[in-house]
Amino acid sequence: MGTIIKKYEPKWSDRFYLVAILQGMMITLKHFFRKKITIEYPDVKRQPKPGYRGLHRLNKHEDGKIKCVACGMCASACPADAITVIPIESPYEESRPSISEKYAQSEERFPGTFEINELRCIFCGMCEEACPEAAIELTEIYDFTYLARKQAIMDKESLLDIFDKTKNGNFYLQEAK
């Protein structure tokens, strides 16, 4: 059984339309005085919510040593094949505290080259999830651009740099201060 929807028949008074027009104009007038939703971008930057997946960073331990053990899990998890890791022997003398015992027992590895091609990256966050050391992380930085393709390939140093910039919480809040 279908429901019968009555066709809208305007009343005799509705046919003047002028009242409806005035009502509509009052609605637009209300919007005139309403708070504007525009964010004036270069001056004011939107604060991304926690969990936003932006530019990558390579985390460091508190003593400044690189967390990454160059296991290559991020590179193999990456669906866009954007990450390149070439491991070398660790330059650190003492063995580091590790979350996963499995890798702590093996010989110390260290990222000799760690490159992320930000143009290939789809910012899915799989690398972040795959990392056993919580070494790679996606930050809240969203406004990064490049003048050349070469610049888009972030190397180890610049990724560590991003860590220094973002370790104290929201990058854009700090920038605003």
Partner: protein
């Protein structure tokens, strides 16, 4: 000799103020429309974006002026001017302030007080439509032609209502002199109270006359790709644009003069204004500008509130609703005048 100089100065001043008014209109159009849509609008160029119209103008000047091969060249070049010039000419007969005395001369705040004032304005607004029609025709392509055709049909339909609404004002005044109309209103009350029906009709008709929403059939972007100005670019397009705003200013000034007492200041009598001397004149000009500005704001406000009419709805409204009401209003005015006399 002195009169000629005064007139020349008046022409320059009125022309300049009108051009400034066009710029203010463009600024208001962009800012108010943005505010009505919860946006900010242009606010980067100068304080609060006030220099935006100048930036727009510079942009238009710098742009390449493309004249397509298939156009009728001389008409194509001429038609933006045909739209713009009458719109500016119309302002010439509108009294925008109280006359004042200077060195023993009475200086009217009006460029020319023609004895056919209203007819002249009606003629000018009608000629302005030729700019659209010829622009559409000379572009030699289908969308501009449709836009031009629509504007001509629309003009004929709504000019009637506009004219008939004015007729009832003329009947009450008994003169076509604009100054007489203002004087009559100062004596016996504004026509918005004495002719409310004519006021509403006239107000609706000027929306159609200046091709503004909800009657902007001539440039209906979604159907006509811009309508009559599809083939225009650079400063020629800007001329169409400015012409539209100029005619907006003209008809807003006209409706102010006809129905809102022109430069009359509310609650202040003519004698009090006279006692103020030059300040009285300035006050009256300010009053006139405020009233005109109100109508321009409503233009913009309505534009961002109402959707566009369908063409058959537009024609039905013009011929079957507004025209009979306008005729009825004339008959009513006649009867009332006969009864009260």
């Amino acid at each position: 000799m002195f009169n000629i100089w005064i007139t020349l100065i008046q022409i320059v001043v009125v022309f300049g103020v009108t051009m400034l008014g066009i710029m203010v209109c463009i600024y208001l159009e962009r800012r108010v429309s943005a505010f009505l849509q919860d946006r900010l609008g242009p606010n980067r160029t100068g304080p609060k974006g006030l220099l935006q119209p100048i930036a727009d103008g510079i942009k238009f000047f710098m742009k390449e002026d493309i004249i397509p091969d298939f156009v009728i060249r001389w008409l194509y070049i001429l038609s933006p001017g045909i739209l713009m010039a009458p719109a500016l000419l119309g302002i010439a007969v509108i009294p925008f302030g109280k006359p004042f005395e200077l060195f023993g001369y009475t200086i009217p705040m009006q460029i020319a007080d023609l004895n056919i004032g209203i007819l002249y304005i009606l003629a000018m607004t009608s000629i302005g439509i030729y700019g659209l029609v010829l622009g559409g025709w000379s572009s030699n392509s289908k969308y501009p032609l449709l836009g031009g055709l629509r504007s001509s049909a629309q003009m004929i339909s709504y000019e009637l209502t506009m004219g008939l609404a004015i007729v009832s004002v003329l009947m009450a005044t008994g003169s076509m002199l604009m100054s007489d109309i203002v004087a009559e209103q100062m004596q016996n009350g504004w026509f918005i109270w004495r002719q409310p029906l004519a006021f509403v009709l006239f107000w609706i008709a000027i929306f159609a006359e200046t091709n503004r929403l909800p009657f902007d059939m001539t440039e209906a972007e979604q159907e006509l790709v811009g309508g009559y100005h599809t083939e225009y670019s650079s400063m020629k397009f800007a001329m169409f644009f400015m012409g539209e705003y100029a005619s907006m200013i003209t008809v807003s000034a006209l409706i102010t003069t006809l129905f809102l007492g022109g430069w009359a200041v509310p609650f202040v009598s003519l004698e009090t204004l006279d006692s103020f001397g030059i300040w009285g004149t300035l006050l009256s000009v300010a009053s006139f500008v405020a009233k005109t500005g109100f109508f321009i704001l409503v233009y913009i406000w309505v534009r961002w509130t109402l959707p566009r009419f369908r063409y058959d709805q537009l024609m039905r409204l013009g011929w079957k609703v507004l025209l009979p009401i306008a005729l009825f209003n004339i008959v009513l005015t006649g009867i009332l005048m006969a009864v009260w006399k």
